[in-house]
């Protein structure tokens, strides 16, 4: 599939192109505000969802090398709307039974791309949440171990032996995996 010209939005986010961010706000903020106000939300909710959606797209572009093969507008609006729907559910409210694509008919490619972003970001969010449940020592060991630095150097910096670091790292990671596993059951 060929890359859509709207890939420029993703490239712009990656280099923090302020004019492009401004363009995203100018073109889409009003639509999202309208949608969220119509669906039990406030302007603050709309601003938060909009901001989070931009960061989700940035993360996917940066860490998953997301490349846009569909237009940005329906893709981005769908992400915002889905995020808002999830938020309503999280708040324990009954979402209105209205189609998500009530403003735009979205193509399958748009739907698939938006879904992938939401799924990947939800997965990353869950991993980070479970990571935060670990004890401070475990978090520090994993954080340092995953920097790509030589493990011997990290052990020395932490004032522990290399063997201890490896053992603790394995234990901490196993604990984290069990937390993550429990989320899936």
């Amino acid at each position: 599939m060929s890359i859509h010209p709207d890939q420029r939005y993703l490239d712009g986010l990656l280099r923090n192109d302020t004019l492009l961010v401004q363009e995203i706000y100018q073109r889409f903020a009003g639509k999202i505000k309208h949608h969220i106000l119509q669906h039990q939300g406030t302007e603050d909710d709309a601003a938060d969802i909009f901001q989070e959606a931009i960061i989700d797209v940035y993360n996917q572009a940066k860490y998953k090398q997301l490349q846009l093969t569909c237009p940005f507008e329906p893709f981005f609006l769908l992400i915002c709307k889905r995020k808002w729907l999830n938020e309503i559910k999280k708040r324990g409210r009954q979402p209105v039974t209205k189609r998500l694509d009530d403003v735009y008919e979205v193509g399958e490619d748009v739907f698939a791309a938006a879904e992938q972003v939401l799924k990947n970001e939800a997965q990353a969010g869950m991993i980070l949440t479970q990571f935060e449940r670990l004890g401070e020592k475990c978090r520090e060991i994993l954080r340092l171990s995953l920097t790509g630095e030589a493990q011997e150097k990290i052990a020395a910096a932490m004032g522990v032996t290399y063997g201890y670091l490896r053992k603790k790292k394995s234990e901490c990671m196993a604990t984290l995996l069990s937390y993550i596993q429990a989320q899936k059951i």
Binding site: H4, P5, D6, L13, L14, R15, N16, T18, L19, V21, Q22, E23, Y25, Q26, R27, A29, G30, K33, E43, D44, A46, A47, F50, Q51, I54, I55, Y58, N59, K62, Y63, C70, P71, F72, E73, P74, Y104, E105, G107, V110, Q123, A124, I127, L128, F131, L142, R143, L146, T147, G148, R166, S170, E171, M173, A174, L176, L177, S178, I180, Q181
Partner: protein, 244 residues
């Protein structure tokens, strides 16, 4: 999966298994989908944490930009402003307004562009079409009078549809605003030579350009090319009257 636990998976992935044990593990991987899924999960966790636990100055900068944009596009909490500040603001606005009116009084006869040149770019797009986005972005910049950004977007658009009279028309106007007068007038003349709905708008804009340059003779030549039943006829007549 029953034979292996999380620590075994970690040891395998991190290269801490002895060759024989590693071989057995790989055999189990081929036969046990749960074990394979657990290994994939570990790889995902490692990749995610490696990426997201490290500082990301780019993301910090983007968040800062988002914070700056937010108040301009979403509601703000109302602020109490003292009456003194309010009066000062009113006074300042009144002074500016007086200045503007005075300026207009002295310039209204010659500043034709200000009177007649407020043109908005309007696009009718089919959602999902690759070129739509270019037009939409061009319209956004055009309507903000950020003409330098309009031209490359329309250049790109015209590469895919060189016959678009609409793109030529707006590119022509944008070019005259950025000092690229010759190419701008050339675009507008091409539009005038065509048969699109922009034909007489292009003639009007060329006339307006010459009027602004105080070249009344050339402006009148172009105004005379606009027939009485054209959409631009009314403003053409008004401009012609102003030129007398």
């Amino acid at each position: 999966m029953a034979a292996y636990n999380h620590e075994d998976i970690i040891r395998y992935e991190d290269g801490d298994m002895l060759p024989e044990e590693r071989q057995q593990f790989e055999l189990a991987l081929q036969q046990d989908a749960t074990l394979a899924a657990a290994l994939a999960q570990y790889r995902e966790v490692k990749t995610t944490l490696s990426a997201r636990l490290q500082p990301d100055p780019q993301l910090d900068a983007l968040k800062q930009t988002l914070q700056e944009q937010r108040p301009g596009h979403f509601g703000r909490t109302g602020k109490v402003v003292s009456i003194k500040k309010y009066l000062t603001a009113v006074g300042a606005v009144a002074a500016i307004l007086a200045g503007v009116l005075l300026f207009r009084f002295y310039t209204r006869d010659t500043n034709y562009m200000e009177t007649y040149g407020n043109i908005e770019m309007q696009v009718a797009v089919e959602r999902g079409n690759n070129a739509d986005s270019l037009l939409q972005s061009a319209a956004l910049y055009f309507n903000e009078k950020d003409y330098t950004k309009v031209i490359p977007l329309l250049d790109t658009y015209l590469k895919t549809d060189s016959s678009s009279q609409m793109a030529l028309y707006y590119r022509g106007i944008a070019a005259t605003h950025t000092g690229q007068t010759a190419s701008g007038l050339e675009d507008l003349k091409k539009v005038f030579e065509g048969e699109s709905i922009f034909k007489y708008d292009a003639a009007f804009y060329i006339a307006l350009y010459y009027a602004q340059q105080q070249n009344r003779k050339e402006a009148r030549v172009w105004l005379k090319l606009i027939p009485a039943d054209a959409a631009a006829a009314a403003k053409a007549a008004a401009l012609e009257k102003d030129l007398k």
